[in-house]
Symmetry: C2
């Protein structure tokens, strides 16, 4: 799974057109908006199919962690295929998105944008250092990419993570 | 290079905080806005270092092609590290971004958001089928990922590209 977390002044969407794999949706689900939200753009990947529950749990940990840091009470789950070139089946993607939604719903005000629809959206990213974070999540048992370490969770905070780490070390 | 092209009602940004690899910028470059624009979110990758001119040229082809299809006259080039987990050096990234900017500037109204700064941004994606497209670009001579074909340009139009192609074939 590729996760892109954006601390947002607002995020809103409306569906424009279905694709052949569009989720069937209720009228109320055709548009949505959250203010002061953590927006989680999510691409569920082929490798996630080997450990759906595990990937859901790791995503929950990341989302809860960042929501806590930025003090967000509202969470928008937004399927975003363009974050990966090796996507899961649509069926698995929807089950993962719904799984995350269900688990977060007790703790946060959660909305989920529908899968498989062309959507217009507007987002405002706050721009502070924690307002854009990305995470790569893979199941422990999943295949390992060639030449890469087994990254259970690969933190990639910015272009400049190494430089930032150096700066932070120098300051502490 | 990972390219995410968004046909936007508007895109605007303002810098919030420099990182250690921040480009030095003029005051006028601290914020920017374009209406009715093609926004190109760009991650320059390690593999691009082996063929900078080639990657610039391929990116130009993709941007010109999509700008033509959506009839955009304004182009915002926006560095976006979170599209890749294998980034180029900051120096190469800036040279690629400037190279693209220079080449497009005769044909389009081009703005470029500065590299290496935390930025707030607001974007409105139009939502029609060509309003969100992603492209993976690698130099011909670059290393090949394990288990993958040599993808010079990998088109990934949606989760559902195959299904959409089937639909489009059925209609034509
Ligand atoms: Mg970023």
């Amino acid at each position: 799974m590729q996760l892109l977390l954006i601390h947002s002044d607002y995020i809103e969407y409306e569906v424009k057109k279905s694709t052949p794999v569009a989720e069937k949706i209720e009228e109320s689900f055709r548009s949505g908006r959250l203010d002061e939200a953590l927006t989680a753009f999510i691409a569920v990947e082929k490798v996630d199919e080997s450990g759906v529950d595990e990937v859901i749990n790791k995503a929950l940990t990341e989302i809860r962690n960042v929501a806590g840091q930025v003090k967000a009470e509202n969470i928008m789950l937004y399927p975003y295929a363009h974050l990966s070139s090796d996507l899961s089946s649509p069926k698995i993607a929807v089950s993962v998105l719904k799984g995350i939604e269900k688990e977060l719903s007790g703790e946060f005000n959660v909305k989920r944008a529908p899968f498989g629809w062309y959507k217009a959206f507007r987002i405002s990213c706050k721009g502070h250092p924690l307002s854009e974070l990305s995470r790569s999540i893979v199941p422990e048992g999943g295949p390992v990419s060639c030449g890469e370490a087994i990254a259970v969770t690969d933190e990639k905070e910015e272009v400049v993570s190494e430089a930032l780490k150096a700066e932070s070390t120098a300051k502490s």
